[in-house]
């Protein structure tokens, strides 16, 4: 079965039940600690029903909606990255012998729980694909990742409103997910009407849908979904001109704007934690107090730390200026040379979760403007 169908709100739990029968652990959005985060969910009641998010530079608040939408928000501080590239992975554990050798090396079993992602947005699907390319597309696939997203069942949600810091349209990553999902839902809420227009994206998606009461979508349904998509696309909170952005940033390594942003940047690294494509990790060997056992861990790292660029003699990037510049130029420019795409999906998390509201779209604009109008004031 392919094509487009409709599931009524009342039958939504049937979708989750079908996944549970296939032994999927469903991970989806839920409200916790005044944010919408990803966690295991078992029924629609766990979803952030009737909640939306208000986002701006350095600002995130949940606000009650005046309807009961299941997916009436944009994106929260977490991304699906934590499943592809967990924050702390034990790679192996070993005994340290008297002669310094390692014995009894044990690698933790690669548990691949059958995961289903519920509520993945188009930007997030792109991010999942980018991380797969970084982690699995090289000569040495990530030892900690490998099969983590291979068998994930993905139910995407087409955004019904753009977030305050969203710019997926600029990055060509949304708002409409076109591939990379098993099922894609567009929530339609209109007075008493509350249903989901469902697009089938794979055979196993079709199989799951078979078990849920549904009807074929009529033209009015398809048009309603299209209208939602179009409205979202028109509401983007931010914009990024990506014309020759690689060249723009490569030409401007010494731009005074970097000094300006350095005065604000705390090098806290929040942006790298919330970004769905930031992939840097550190590899650490940790011993017990007697030095008899050692574990090698792979942990999330951030290019904002002073140690990140350490070589003998000191850090190559000691200044906040150089570290912010590294992050932004990697994300928007050198990612192209390293992996063949942009590193940014326009989700806006870095803008929302920066404590001082630094906005990379604004920084890029300032640099571009100064090239186009060199005599204008900064």
């Amino acid at each position: 079965m392919t094509g487009v169908h409709v599931i009524e709100r009342g039958d939504f739990d049937g979708l989750l039940a079908a996944l549970a029968r296939r032994s999927y652990t469903i991970v989806g959005p839920t409200v916790r600690d005044r944010a919408i985060v990803y966690d295991e969910i078992t029924s629609a009641e766990d979803l952030p029903i009737g909640w939306t998010d208000e986002q701006d530079g350095g600002y995130y608040r949940l606000r009650r909606r005046d309807d009961e939408a299941l997916f009436g928000y944009a994106v929260g501080p977490q991304s699906w990255k934590q499943y592809q590239l967990p924050a702390n992975v034990k790679l192996w554990r070993a005994r340290v012998d008297q002669d310094g050798g390692l014995s009894e090396v044990t690698e933790p079993p690669r548990e691949s729980p059958r995961l289903a992602f519920l509520g993945a947005r188009s930007c997030e699907l792109h991010a999942i694909g980018m991380l797969d390319r970084v982690l699995l597309g090289g000569a040495h696939p990530d030892p900690a990742d490998s099969a983590r997203t291979e068998d994930v069942f993905i139910i995407a949600v087409q955004c019904a409103q753009a977030g305050g810091t969203c710019f997926c349209v600029s990055m060509n990553t949304g708002p409409v997910a076109e591939r990379g999902f098993d099922l894609a839902l567009t929530e339609i809420l209109n007075g008493a009407m509350h249903h989901f227009v469902v697009e089938v994206g794979s055979e196993r998606g079709a199989d799951v849908l078979e078990e849920v009461p549904h009807r074929e979508a009529a033209d009015v349904d398809r048009n309603a979904a299209k209208a939602v998509h179009a409205q979202t696309a028109s509401q983007m909170g931010r914009e990024l001109d990506t014309t020759d952005i690689k060249g723009l940033l490569y030409r401007n390594y010494e731009h005074p704007r970097w000094d300006e942003v350095a005065e604000r940047c705390l090098t806290c690294g929040n942006c790298t934690m919330v970004c769905p494509t930031c992939f840097c990790t550190t590899v650490e060997d940790v011993t017990d107090l007697e030095g008899e056992h050692v574990e090698r861990h792979q942990r999330w790292d951030s290019c904002f730390t002073i140690d990140y660029s350490h070589i003998h003699g000191g850090a190559v990037r000691p200044s906040p200026r150089s570290r912010y510049r590294q992050w932004m130029t990697h994300k928007l420019a050198s990612w192209w040379d390293q992996f063949g795409t942009s590193g940014c999906v326009g989700c806006g998390r870095c803008i929302t979760w920066c404590p001082v509201g630094i906005d990379l779209t604004e920084e890029a604009r300032a640099i571009r403007d100064s090239e186009e109008r060199p005599d204008a004031n900064d």
Binding site: V96, G100, A139, C280, D301, V316, R317
Partner: protein
């Protein structure tokens, strides 16, 4: 990411804080590598460090590393004695383009601890001496006591490598050059038209010696360097070794100078 055990066969102290260790893979499988590659080396859980391979590529039953003891991890490696075991991952990285440069005169400019990473290349080229024109080594060290492999330098010059050595300062018993490595270029009487340059050492040293060679007419796309940045995974996944668009564990450490030089002029890149 699980390292392989290598037995320490022999250890030699080169300078006050530098040792050369000769290792043998416990598995018995030869450790094939190309000159210019590196391993991730560790001792008993004290942390891994990237380490250039300094041994003979035609003797893969041995893995040789010349290690400068500078921090916790290298100190632990340098304290390993014959009979003990070190852990090795690799080899990784892009090697010196020894096949591509056959037929050329080759000048190698090495400074300080930049000599061990070019040693495998020198040995390979000397083993196939007839494939190259002149082979010239310009080597600079801090002082006569810091000159690495002094007996080998003599042996290599007998096998067809012209060796010029300079030090930054010396006492009266030194009978050689004193001064920066760029000052060896004139006495080497190089014919720059057919010259390929390979350089390894502190980045400042490489910039100045390659600038001097460029002034003399060597093309920057015929010059190669071995670059260094913070390496942790060695396999292109952790992001630390980035230098502009390059991930040095994967796109290096050997880089063509014409590709990397523009990036080195950006401070704190």
């Amino acid at each position: 990411m699980v390292p392989a055990p290598f037995d320490v066969l022999a250890k030699r102290q080169d300078t006050e804080d530098t040792w050369t260790l000769e290792l043998q893979p416990r598995s018995g499988e030869p450790f094939e590598f190309a000159p210019g590659q590196f391993t991730m080396l560790s001792a008993g859980g004290a942390g891994e460090v990237p380490m250039s391979i300094s041994g003979d590529p035609d003797e893969p039953q041995r893995l040789v590393h010349t290690v400068h003891s500078l921090g916790l991890a290298t100190q632990a490696v340098c304290e390993a004695e014959p009979g003990q075991v070190l852990s090795v991952r690799g080899p990784f990285g892009r090697p010196w383009p020894l096949e591509a440069i056959e037929g050329a005169d080759v000048v190698i400019a090495a400074g300080g601890l930049g000599l061990p990473p070019v040693r495998p290349a020198i040995l390979r080229m000397l083993a196939h001496r007839e494939r190259y024109g002149r082979l010239v080594l310009l080597y600079s060290a801090r002082s006569p006591e810091q000159v690495l492999f002094p007996d080998e330098l003599t042996a290599w010059s007998e096998r067809g490598l012209e060796v010029l050595v300079t030090v930054d300062s010396a006492g009266p018993e030194w009978r050689g050059h004193v001064g920066v490595v760029t000052r060896l270029i004139r006495p080497a009487k190089l014919e720059t038209g057919i010259l390929v340059a390979m350089s390894c050492g502190p980045e400042v040293m490489m910039r100045f010696v390659l600038a001097a060679l460029a002034d003399d007419g060597v093309r920057s796309d015929r010059m190669y360097v071995s670059m260094e940045r913070n390496m942790q995974c060695g396999i292109g996944l952790c992001g630390h070794c980035q230098l502009g668009p390059k991930l040095l564990c994967r796109d290096g450490p050997v880089c063509r100078w014409s590709e990397i030089a523009p990036w080195l002029s950006v401070r704190e890149l």
